[in-house]
């Protein structure tokens, strides 16, 4: 089955192929938007086939995936390789990498920015990559607590001068499996792929041993998962406050380390109604009534 696309109301587009769902919105002159979408569509139609061609490698630990050649696969590998001390496969960055690849293909023509394009985002199921022309800003809404998803708790405003072009979220409630128990870990980083990989790692780290935490081998829930028999979280019941604190502290430590090493710009961690903010994200989110770690 081939890729499909549909124009949504206003100026957004939906591209879909197999498991990939993108919502894309360019801002700028009408002519620029049309060119950007046309380039994006051309690029998108082969993305899944390229990934599938190297899928066996991409599902293996990063150390065994060095030989991949596809542009998206290279992005995945590059984002995950620095984190190879723990178990990670390039799949940890697949969503962000696809978003990055699409943004690059759309915003640039022969390496030069599209004339008349002000900004652009590609939202790959919550993992977002975006592009900003000089002087432009992107506002991204934040829901601090996914349990009360109706309220927008704040917004991060990313300006052109800031080293952030990717936002990604990971957590056990999401579509991808998590080894940890975080409700959500949202990461701001230089690219969608870096944010995606880091969010996965930080969310894996937010963890504790408690009877209320139920885990099952990933391959008992889903066929062909890159996580094999690793135990993934399937339920989290009420936890003692002290354990919530400790689990969040583990995640914060990992996030701080990633920030010191320059992999991420900031992160927001959420577990059982409690939150921690790492890095400069806090200063960009004044409306959030959160405790700053």
């Amino acid at each position: 089955m081939a890729a499909t696309r549909a124009r949504l109301e206003d100026k957004r587009w939906h591209f879909q192929h197999g498991p990939i769902d993108l919502v894309i919105e360019p801002f700028g002159t009408e002519a620029a938007r049309a060119r950007v979408i046309a380039r994006g569509w051309r690029r998108f139609q082969t993305v899944l086939d390229e990934l599938v061609a190297e899928l066996a490698f991409l599902r293996a630990p990063v150390q065994e995936a060095e030989g991949v050649t596809g542009p998206v696969a290279r992005r995945m590998l590059a984002a995950c390789r620095p984190h190879g001390r723990v178990f990670i496969t390039p799949m940890a960055a697949v969503a962000g990498s696809v978003a990055d690849e699409m943004v690059a293909a759309m915003a640039l023509e022969d390496g030069a920015p599209e004339d008349g394009l002000a900004r652009l985002y590609v939202n790959n199921g919550g993992d977002i990559a975006f592009w900003l022309a000089p002087g432009e800003r992107m506002r991204i809404g934040l829901i601090a607590n996914p349990e009360h998803a109706s309220a927008l708790d704040g917004a991060v405003e990313i300006g052109h001068h800031m080293p952030v072009r990717g936002v990604a979220t990971s957590g056990w409630r999401g579509r991808s499996f998590s080894l940890g128990i975080a409700d959500s870990v949202t990461v701001l980083a230089a690219s969608g792929a870096s944010a995606d990989a880091a969010a996965t790692l930080i969310a894996n780290e937010v963890d504790c041993d408690h009877p209320a935490v139920v885990k099952r081998p990933a391959n008992e829930i889903k066929d062909d998962t890159d996580l094999g028999a690793l135990p993934v979280t399937v339920a989290v019941g009420p936890l003692p406050r002290a354990l919530v604190d400790r689990a969040l502290a583990r995640g914060v430590a990992r996030a701080e380390a990633l920030r010191r090493e320059g992999f991420i710009w900031g992160a927001v961690l959420s577990l059982a109604g409690d939150y921690r903010i790492v890095g400069d994200a806090g200063s960009a989110i004044p409306a959030l009534p959160m405790r700053v770690a």
Partner: protein, 505 residues
Amino acid sequence: MSTTRGDPEAVAAVESGAPGGRVESGKIACNACPVLCRISEGRTGACDRYANVEGTLTRVDPLVLAAEVAREAGPLVPFAAGKEWDGNIVAGAPVFVTGVGAGTTYPDYKPAPFIVSQRHGGVETVTVVTEGIFSYCSFKIKIDTDRYIGPECAPVRSDGEVVGHVTTMEYGSQMLSLGGVHHLTGGSKKEGRVTCDLMMNLGNKKAVELAVEGGAALTIQAGKPPIIDGAPEQRMRVGCGSATIGIFAQQWFGKVDEVIVVDDHITGVLTEHQAGRFLGMRPGGINVTGRRSTPGRYFQVANPGSGWGGTDIKDPLKAILSIDPETAWPGERLLMVSTTGEDYAYFVLDRGLKPVPAEMPEDVRRVVERIGENCEPALATVLFMGGAGGSLRAGVTENPIALTRSIKRMLVNVTCGGAPAYVWPGGGIMVLVDVARMPDNSFGYVPTPAIVAPIEFTMRLADYGALGGHLDRVRPIEDVIAHARYRAIGWNPENPWPEKLSRGD
């Protein structure tokens, strides 16, 4: 969506050999996309769009999903929940299992047919779905009309059998109570059967014909204009005659000298009414029939009927008792109008102070038209009222009183076919539901006779455990989708999504 089923075309395609094929050990090879997942029984592929359902590759989400999801994205991307929404997209749009067709476990010593868990806003919720058998139930009918349909307490008949009665007149409407246990099981066999048929038809949004003893012949259908003695009702009155005077006095001032608003309940006389006096209007000296309640407000100017303003008046001058020569004057301009603006007449008093029909000035006509414009369309609306306080609760919990208490504490959201139900305070679980919000053909019957109606109880999983729920019978929604036979219908967008009503911490 109420319940969703895979795209039938996709399923049919599979059965003829594509796009899925059987491979080793009960797995199915999906070739819906290049990923070519091999999917074990009961699981979904990488996309969560296709699943292996009893050896058949099945599309598990409707095609409209992507558009629904996309509305949630945008420049303001609530990204902490983004992943979660993504999960919802691919696993299927939000799905609610209704009680319609769920079946029952009467007399309910067994757990309800479907106890379904699903995640909403990160909270694990449980919906207990059943079809209730309601021996104690009735339909309350609101007929938007001022026309007289019959005296209060008058029996209402269907097919010659008494099936209910006229109850209190309410604001701009006449009310009926139909069905109920006495007519269902307390009378003759025929009375029970006719009542049961009538209730089924009313609940299933079909038109029913009724005859009020000493009153009107009615055709009633949920959400449609009532037909009274063969005439479809158009408008609800804007208010009683007095209210109409109050609303429009300012607009009539200076354009006419007197206005009489004819209404079966209260007929209003402008210059005598508080509103006219406030404007300093000269008394018109035109006395109307009926009994004066307060200045400018008259009861019973005529008998009820299908004439002006719900009275039996066809000639408006019949509402005028006398004209006082001391007060009225030749050339006095008189407007008579009904409370819906449907009936109106304009007169000028001649030298003998006799009202003579005259052409209505344009600015007066505009105000008359505005009365009509402010009247809402007249509808017949049908509410189902039923008590689920009995054994049905045992299907939900081992300790039935705990369900009742949890509902009263608003921990449990009660719906009927997904339509919000008002739960009457006091004992039992007595619900009141607008049948127009329910799926078509929600109601059935058993030969007792009694009415079968869907009912769902939605609550947090934790609260369900606390009230002694049948936790061992809780199934994930995906499991229901994969294994139950069902019919997909669109979610009525006018209904709030049931989980949203569940109380947060």
